[in-house]
């Protein structure tokens, strides 16, 4: 695991996702209000890019752009199937900078 600088907070539009290459991983980073979340970009269903997904449920869930599979932003847990989960990563803020640990 390593820390990666993603950019300034203002570069992340509210309620949207962006994807970053962090080493060999592609990680989707979402801004929901003052909070940031990160998870593996690939949907476990059929491989869609979750960074293109819609944030719903008052900013707590990302919904896959292809087939609406929904995952909690904070822990990657499927909203419907306890056995399905997306790997999540830590995101922290230092000043106005967004840092990913992946």
């Amino acid at each position: 695991m390593a820390d990666y600088l993603l950019g300034k907070i203002e570069e992340f539009p509210e309620g949207k996702g962006r994807a970053f290459r962090a080493g060999t991983r592609t990680v989707a980073v979402f801004r929901s209000g003052a909070k940031f979340f990160a998870m593996a970009n690939r949907c476990v269903h059929k491989g869609a890019s979750l960074c293109e997904g819609e944030i719903t449920e008052n900013g707590t869930v990302v919904r896959c752009p292809w087939h609406n599979w929904s995952f909690r932003l904070d822990n990657g847990q499927s909203c419907h199937d306890p056995q399905e989960k997306i790997r999540t990563y830590e995101v922290r803020l230092e000043g106005d900078q967004v840092i990913l640990c992946a």
Binding site: A2, D3, Y4, L5, L6, G7, R18, A19, F20, R21, A22, T26, V27, N41, R42, K46, G47, A48, S49, C51, E54, T56, R63, W66, H67, N68, Q83, E94, Q97, I99, L100
Partner: protein, 383 residues
């Protein structure tokens, strides 16, 4: 060291990931089910009179209950992923998904439920003429299913004979649901005669919207019941009629591709038909085609007709978590020979082709090639 931030960190690169597996982009992909929906104003320009002067809007088939509004995402189940109205749209989407060749199906399924057959037939002719004039010339990667008014087989036959010679039409589009009479009955021989003249595949595509008019499905309330479940039973009914009523005996070269009716039910279906055929086939002599030919029974076991005449498009693929189960299901369904890849773009359950190459423990390289293009090339002689 990042000079601008003051942090001693490596900067992550912002990317726009391609969700399509690179292996897919390196292989030939034929998409056997992609919905094309020309704009009404465009189609109207191709309508013949008096329809052109009298039809101001696209006529919608009516329905007594449609669960669509209960889904939050707009357009769900229809154009969820976009709308292709021109050849340029189609080519852009093919490149986006790594598809080489596409078979366009008319996005306008609903007219089959307008109980005014001349209106359906007129729209079908306009749709086909638009394809010939403005879509096919743009790229040979684009093929299509002929739109017809299949509920009037004579009208369908007239349309097939009018434009079926065009080499970029590779099949005839029909819909199956609980509302429509089974395509397997002798009533459709008029249409099949015309198809045989042009070596066209019969596409039988699920039409879920109209089940609700039937007593059984009037009881359905949910998206899952009407769109997730109903098509499989309807598909089985239509396929059983084709086999048991001698369609393939009368039309020994006719090929059929079923779309969106599922297929994991196939092993039980074939075993059951074969078993009943062995014990109780006496009334087969009484179906119209057998009365016409004087034959007393089918010429083959029911399952043999499936292997020789029927293929299934793959969307929506459902993959069990247990790897052994997936491998067994593929084998039991003879997927290596019977399945043809489809995306069903742009509908909600659209499948990109990733799954074909991302399960190599269950789908080896040879089978990947057959699913993605080989089986479709064998099925559609015009590709």
């Amino acid at each position: 060291m990042n000079e601008h931030s003051g942090f001693d960190l490596q900067k992550a690169e912002a990317v726009s990931p391609d969700p399509i597996n690179p292996k897919i982009r390196a292989m030939e992909v034929i998409d056997t089910d992609f919905h094309f929906s020309p704009k009404w104003d465009t189609l109207r320009g191709y309508l013949k009179e008096p329809f052109k002067s009298r039809l101001f809007h696209f006529p919608l088939g009516s329905m007594d209950y449609n669960p669509e509004p209960a889904n939050e995402k707009p357009g769900i189940g229809q154009e969820t992923h976009g709308t292709a109205t021109t050849a340029v749209d189609v080519l852009r989407i093919l490149d986006q998904f790594g598809t080489d060749t596409v078979i366009l199906n008319p996005g306008y399924n609903r007219p089959q439920a307008i109980f005014n057959e001349p209106v359906i037939a007129a729209i079908a002719s306009a749709h086909n003429d638009y394809l010939i004039k403005e879509v096919f010339p743009v790229s040979d990667r684009i093929k299509a299913s002929l739109m017809v008014c299949h509920r009037d087989p004579k009208m369908a036959a007239d349309e097939i004979r009018r434009v079926g010679h065009h080499r970029q039409f590779v099949s005839v589009f029909t819909s199956f649901s609980a509302l429509f009479e089974s395509i397997g009955t002798a009533k459709f021989d008029v249409m099949l005669d015309a198809m045989a003249e042009h070596d066209l595949v019969l596409t039988a595509h699920s039409e879920g919207w109209f089940n609700h008019f039937t007593p059984l499905w009037t009881g359905a309330r949910t998206w899952i019941e009407l769109f997730g479940n109903a098509p499989a039973g309807n598909c089985m009914a239509h396929l059983a009629a084709m086999i048991c009523q001698g369609m393939f005996d009368k039309y020994p070269k006719q090929k059929v591709i079923f779309q969106e009716g599922g297929y994991w039910w196939l092993p039980d279906f074939m075993l059951r038909l074969d078993d009943f055929f062995m014990s109780s086939s006496g009334d087969i002599a009484l179906v119209e085609r057998k009365l016409e030919s004087g034959e007393r029974n089918l010429r083959k076991m029911p399952s043999e007709y499936v292997f020789e005449h029927v293929r299934f498009s793959t969307q929506p693929i459902t993959i069990p978590k247990n790897r052994k189960h997936f491998a067994w299901m593929l084998e039991l369904c003879h997927a290596q020979d019977l399945f043809c890849f489809s995306s069903d773009w742009p509908h909600q359950t659209m499948d990109p082709a990733n799954w074909v190459v991302e399960n190599p423990d269950c789908i080896g390289e040879e089978m990947q090639k057959k699913l993605l293009s080989g089986n479709a090339r064998k099925l559609y002689t015009r590709i």
